[in-house]
């Protein structure tokens, strides 16, 4: 086991280099760069040939005249000392910008994910146990309807109905904390933040129920029909015990797999939800950075999420062994 772990950890480095190199090459090769973009149509284009010279000068200032591989090496050298560089947009250290956005996105996503899991997994299990019952049918119908609604529409609708003031005035119109709540006590601040996050969390979660509960249902059904479950039943174990201990545990494998792939999404944030609810999170940060070709920001986000995802996958792989001892991680001879 330890040998396996060490091997996996060592393998993280080349994987990471692969990811960051591809990302870097992609942004550099994409048409457009920050300077040209900013200069856009106002100055540079208006001033002709001399302007082009000035543009080249500025590109040089940010190392954009160097070949991709050299540019990547420069970036990597700084990364080794954990220097993510400076954002082109506002001249602040990238680390500072991420430190502002990450906690917001993380908390929003973790809350949403917990809610989705808490509701979907039991829902899916019940659906599987009562396959083809009224509950199974109705719940899947409702979930499909929810799934079919696009989040920007739901988000806007929620805000108009619950916060607009035309109908109801229960929630704030976006943001994460009231302007005047800065000097509140800790508890009141939390209440204030929760009040702000209610609608965005709903918008982030309602669509997730369908997939996860159908998924749980499918894997549960799969397991319930397995021989050992029948054996367990035949042995006269209580149905509760059969379901919770034997069946559920076995259906965990695909769920664990799913968790690992959800991780990058956790950090990613949703551009649409963030823009509708005026939440300054990672989604907007990354989206704007990509559109503006703000290379240091893109690279930092890509590498942070890459590292966390890689770790997430590793943990999931280890968990496989825990939830299902039959899985052997070592090579088979």
């Amino acid at each position: 086991m330890i040998k396996y772990l060490v091997k996996r950890l060592l393998l993280l480095l080349p994987t990471f280099i692969g990811i960051s190199l591809i990302t870097y090459a992609m942004i550099r090769l994409a048409p457009g760069d920050y300077t040209t973009l900013r200069a856009g149509l106002q100055g540079e284009l208006k001033a002709g040939a001399i302007g082009t010279e000035i543009i080249e000068q500025e590109k040089k200032l940010y190392g954009l005249d160097k070949p991709v591989i050299v540019g990547y090496w420069d970036w990597f050298k700084r990364l080794v000392v954990l220097d993510f560089g400076v954002s082109r947009k506002d001249g602040r250290p990238v680390a500072e910008r991420i430190a502002e956005a990450l906690p917001i996105t993380l908390s929003l996503n973790i809350i949403s994910m917990i809610i989705v899991y808490i509701i979907s997994i039991p829902g899916g299990i019940v659906s599987a146990l009562k396959k083809d019952s009224l509950y199974d049918r109705v719940s899947s119908l409702v979930l499909f309807i929810l799934y079919s609604l696009p989040s920007f529409w739901v988000g806007l609708l929620l805000l108009m109905v619950f916060s607009g003031g035309d109908y109801l005035n229960l929630f704030p119109l976006g943001g994460i904390i009231s302007d005047w709540a800065e000097d509140f006590s800790f508890f009141d601040r939390m209440v204030n933040i929760a009040w702000h996050l209610a609608l965005p969390v709903i918008t982030l979660t309602y669509g997730g129920f369908a997939f996860l509960s159908r998924y749980t249902r499918a894997t549960m059904l799969d397991v319930i029909n397995q021989q050992y479950i029948m054996t367990a039943r035949a042995k006269g174990l209580s149905e509760k015990r059969v379901v919770l201990v034997h069946a559920f545990r076995n259906s965990l494998v695909p769920l664990v797999t799913l968790m690992a792939t959800i991780l990058p999404g956790l950090l990613g944030g949703s551009v649409i939800v963030e823009s509708i609810f005026s939440i300054p999170g990672m989604g907007m940060l990354a989206f704007e950075a990509i559109l503006a070709r703000d290379i240091p920001v893109i690279m930092a986000i890509a590498s942070i999420s890459a590292v966390l995802t890689l770790l997430g996958i590793l943990i999931a792989d280890i968990l496989y062994g825990v939830v299902d001892p039959r899985i052997r991680l070592e090579a088979r001879q």
């Binding site: 048409p31 696009p150 529409w153 369908a210 029909n225």
Partner: protein
């Protein structure tokens, strides 16, 4: 060969017995039919036009003398048989912008006065195509790659897993945006990009299932009996790992349509004026407070699609599952 035919025949017999699944299949086929025959369901040209002692079929053939003629609402003399939706997806009417459903426009009009029913019908092509092809690409890729990793394990698994990790680490949505910036947002590109970026989830699921299944008796047995790897993987192991894959795939089709809608919302969808459900949905944002039909109609279409695919997926799963209890 014969054995395989027998297997699928049994599966089909099982499938047919499931009435709900059958209904789903009919719905799916209906959607495909709408997509296939869209130009014949929504068009401004009549099926039959009988005038001046001549019978014409403007929808099938070009008649230069009929160029630019409006056949709607008895504007021409003679017998006219129009398609159910007598509009094309692109003809606009600036005097009928954002009109609610009425006798003239059964499902209302959009922000340029285009007939929503016509756009939905032509949009079926785009949305069904995007959903189906993208998901087909990624399910195929995911199953094959995941199966190889899970079955062979060892070095193969190590290499494939690292490769999967590299792809997973790019948040899909941003990967799509970046690639679209590189290659330009056309229908084909949107399809390919969603397909090529989406397979990792399925690959991990299949790999996980295979890791589990390959230690089971029946796999060991068939290997001991000298079955070839390909047969073991596809005949014996895959059906056992298919349940979660099918759920992923059925949802994938709907979620692809929704991704396309998000891309439209952000301005990266298919090029205008190509009609797609996602594009229609994203238009609705400016008219939220009154134009309910711009959301509900495409929303309902997506709902039908996802429900239909799900029913088929589940029916299929029951049918091929060697263990499912046969009544």
């Amino acid at each position: 060969m014969t054995a395989a035919r027998g297997y699928w025949r049994t599966a089909w017999r099982e499938f047919r017995r499931n009435r709900l699944a059958l209904a789903g299949l009919v719905l799916v086929l209906a959607l495909f039919a709408v997509a296939l025959f869209a130009p014949f369901i929504a068009s401004d040209k009549p099926y039959i036009y009988a005038a001046d002692g001549r019978l014409r079929f403007p929808i099938l053939f070009d008649y230069p003398e009929l160029e630019g003629m409006n056949f709607r609402e008895g504007a021409v003399k003679g017998f006219v048989l129009m398609p159910p939706v007598p509009y094309t997806s692109s003809e606009y009417d600036l005097d009928a912008i954002v009109m609610p459903p009425s006798a003239r426009h059964v499902l209302g009009t959009d922000e340029q006065g285009r007939d929503l029913a016509a756009r939905m019908i032509h949009g079926t092509r785009v949305s069904i195509l995007i959903g189906f092809i993208a998901v087909f690409i990624y399910v195929t890729m995911g199953v094959i790659i995941g199966a190889l990793a899970g079955y062979y394990g060892g070095v193969v698994d190590m290499v494939i897993s690292r490769f999967i990790e590299v792809i997973i680490c790019f948040p899909t949505f941003f990967l799509i945006l970046t690639i679209l910036a590189l290659v330009g947002p056309s229908l084909v590109n949107v399809m390919l990009v969603i397909g090529v970026t989406g397979w990792t989830g399925i690959a991990r699921i299949v790999r996980g299932e295979f890791l589990k299944i390959r230690e089971m008796e029946f796999v060991q047995a068939s290997r001991a009996l000298g079955a070839r790897d390909r047969a073991v993987i596809f005949r014996h192991m895959l059906p056992n790992a298919l349940a979660p894959v099918l759920v992923s795939a059925t949802f994938g089709i709907a979620s692809t349509i929704l991704i396309e809608s998000s891309l439209s919302f952000l301005g990266f969808g298919v090029q205008p004026p190509t009609p797609s459900w996602g594009d229609i949905l994203s238009q609705s944002r400016d008219f939220m407070d009154f134009a309910w039909w711009l959301t509900l109609v495409p929303g309902f279409a997506i709902f039908i699609t996802i429900t239909a695919y799900n029913l088929v997926g589940e029916g299929f799963q029951d049918a091929i599952d060697p263990r499912s209890v046969r009544k």
